[in-house]
């Protein structure tokens, strides 16, 4: 407390501003506290909590396997359907969880946001870390399936951390955008639910991108998850249906765009929030 702090200047908002990540780091104790608390609450019903994270993708996979793997026989480039589906689904789950939890974290904590100052970005960030932990658990389940089906760990796995980071950063951007909207427009929650449902269908999770005619593929790659899941499958399944570099770049650029828009929307909301609530 004795050391002089750098003076903080409080001024009106000027133009576009991006969130201050440095400040989030200064408040890292708060971030860790929020993560710990989130985990405590979720795993307090320990048995059910951990089990659910594992059960949910398995049940989904079973249903889709029966319908799309046996009855309908969706082509999967020769890969056993359960593995094919799960390899896409764990990524989707990460995205979904980050988006939903980040979007609701702000509105859910509106009480403290309007009363005490802290970098608001800490809230959606803490939920994103929680989602990462869930991802690691479902990923372990996926590993079991992969190894059981003779898909070994290869050198390609080195790229996995970067890909996960990219996925998380993109998901956070979407979450921030909708989180900001949700604070200002209360019915965004319904809209978001609808959008995510559609989003799941246009992402090649239960089907492979190769069933899409060539001239329409670009539209699918505008969805960053298409490019990302293609890359994940390239890593896990050793397929050569890695999206071509061009398509992957398209997906990544769209992802970055979402991140920037999300951060701007978030900052804009952050400045006004105490005034309109």
């Amino acid at each position: 407390m004795a050391e002089a702090m750098t003076p903080i200047v409080v001024v009106p908002k000027r133009g576009l501003e991006l969130p201050d990540l440095h400040e989030v780091w200064e408040f890292k104790d708060l971030l860790f506290f929020l993560i710990k608390r989130d985990l405590k609450v979720r795993f307090q019903q320990t048995f059910i909590g951990v089990l659910w994270i594992v059960l949910q993708p398995l049940i989904q996979m079973l249903i889709f396997f029966v319908i799309f793997g046996i009855f309908v026989r969706v082509p999967t480039d020769g890969i056993p359907y359960p593995v094919f589906y799960l390899s896409g689904y764990v990524v989707w789950q990460l995205f979904l969880q980050i988006v939903n939890s980040s979007a609701t974290s702000l509105l859910g904590n509106i009480g403290i946001i309007t009363k005490i100052y802290f970098p608001r970005l800490t809230l959606p960030l803490s939920t994103a870390i929680g989602a990462l932990i869930d991802f690691l658990i479902s990923f372990s389940v996926l590993m079991v399936f992969l190894l059981a089906n003779n898909y070994p760990i290869t050198a390609r796995y080195i790229l996995l951390p970067f890909l996960v980071l990219l996925t998380m950063v993109f998901s956070e951007g979407v979450g921030l955008l909708f989180g900001a909207l949700m604070v200002v427009f209360r019915d965004t929650k319904n809209l978001l639910g609808f959008i995510l449902q559609i989003w799941m269908f246009i992402t090649p999770i239960m089907y492979t991108i190769s069933i899409v005619p060539e001239q329409y593929k670009i539209f699918f790659y505008l969805n960053p998850l298409t490019g990302f899941i293609g890359a994940y499958r390239w890593i896990f399944l050793g397929t050569d249906s890695l999206p071509t570099v061009e398509y992957f770049v398209v997906s990544s650029l769209v992802a970055v765009a979402f991140l920037i828009v999300g951060m701007i929307a978030f900052r804009s909301m952050e400045n006004k929030i105490a005034d309109v609530m």
């Binding site: 002089a4 702090m5 001024v11 904590n109 427009f185």
Partner: protein, 260 residues
């Protein structure tokens, strides 16, 4: 290191009472149904138009606070005192002007600032401490003192939503004053709490001042203001009306109040 704790330069704050399409109760549906209206902020309802006129909560407020000063902030309801504290707490930003902070700010703006009802008192102490930028160890060191001062030892592990308003404010105040504030902002929170607690908290504030903390304190209790604070600032309808020794300012203010 400068001698100032806070400097306010020409602070103006504007509020729109109700902007269409923003704030509680507005919906995307409205925006999507009336895109043109939203873009031009046009709205047929004259009552809403009237309410949409800007309201200036603060008008050109400037002052400087030195380290270790104790200042009472007085004025009628709606004068802008809470708004000013919110700006200093960085919860909202000024519309015009510049505020510079040279100390870490702790504020108690409403009863239960930063408390999460679902968590216990214990967890909220740590939560609040984290919000105030404290490290886990620092909070732990102070934990027993905080609990003792708030007199809620038996209930420290009960979720805060079950606390009475008195318990709530005692804990909130205890947290705010014990987590080594440099600059402490208090907004009319000492009104709740029985006479015993009020006496204790005033005592504590004086201790803090003696040990060098800077305090900005909104209160309608003129006796407390004169007793605890050396200086007082009087806000009237958003403007700074008077800034000087607390006894003088309080007297001047009381005269206008009782004149009606």
């Amino acid at each position: 290191m400068t001698r100032y704790a806070v400097t306010a330069e020409n602070i103006w704050k504007e509020y729109h009472i109700k902007r269409p399409f923003e704030g509680q109760g507005s919906s995307l549906k409205e925006v999507l149904n009336h895109p043109v209206n939203w873009l031009t902020r046009r709205n047929q309802n004259p009552a809403v138009l009237k309410a949409n006129e800007p309201f200036w909560a603060l008008k050109g407020v400037s002052f400087q606070v030195e380290h270790g000063e104790s200042i009472g902030l007085i004025g009628r309801n709606g004068a802008g005192k809470s708004t000013l504290l919110k700006i200093i707490s960085r919860i909202t930003r000024p519309s015009v002007g510049k505020l510079t902070l040279y100390e870490h700010v702790n504020s108690l703006l409403e009863i239960g600032t930063g408390f999460n009802g679902e968590l216990s008192g214990r967890d909220n102490i740590y939560l609040n401490g984290s919000f105030l930028g404290m490290k886990y160890k620092e909070i732990k060191n102070r934990f027993d003192e905080i609990v003792a001062f708030s007199e809620i030892e038996e209930f420290i592990d009960t979720p805060v939503k079950y606390y009475s308003s008195g318990m709530y404010v005692r804990l909130a105040f205890s947290v705010a004053v014990h987590l080594t504030p440099e600059l402490l902002l208090l907004d009319e929170v000492l009104a709740v709490g029985d006479a015993g607690f009020q006496a204790k908290s005033q005592q504590k504030m004086k201790e803090l001042i003696r040990s060098g903390a800077t305090i900005l304190f909104v209160s309608h209790n003129s006796t407390a203001v004169k007793d605890i604070c050396k200086r007082a600032i009087w806000l009237d309808h958003g403007s700074l009306k008077m800034d000087g020794p607390s006894a003088e300012v309080v007297e001047a203010y009381l005269q206008t109040v009782t004149a009606h």
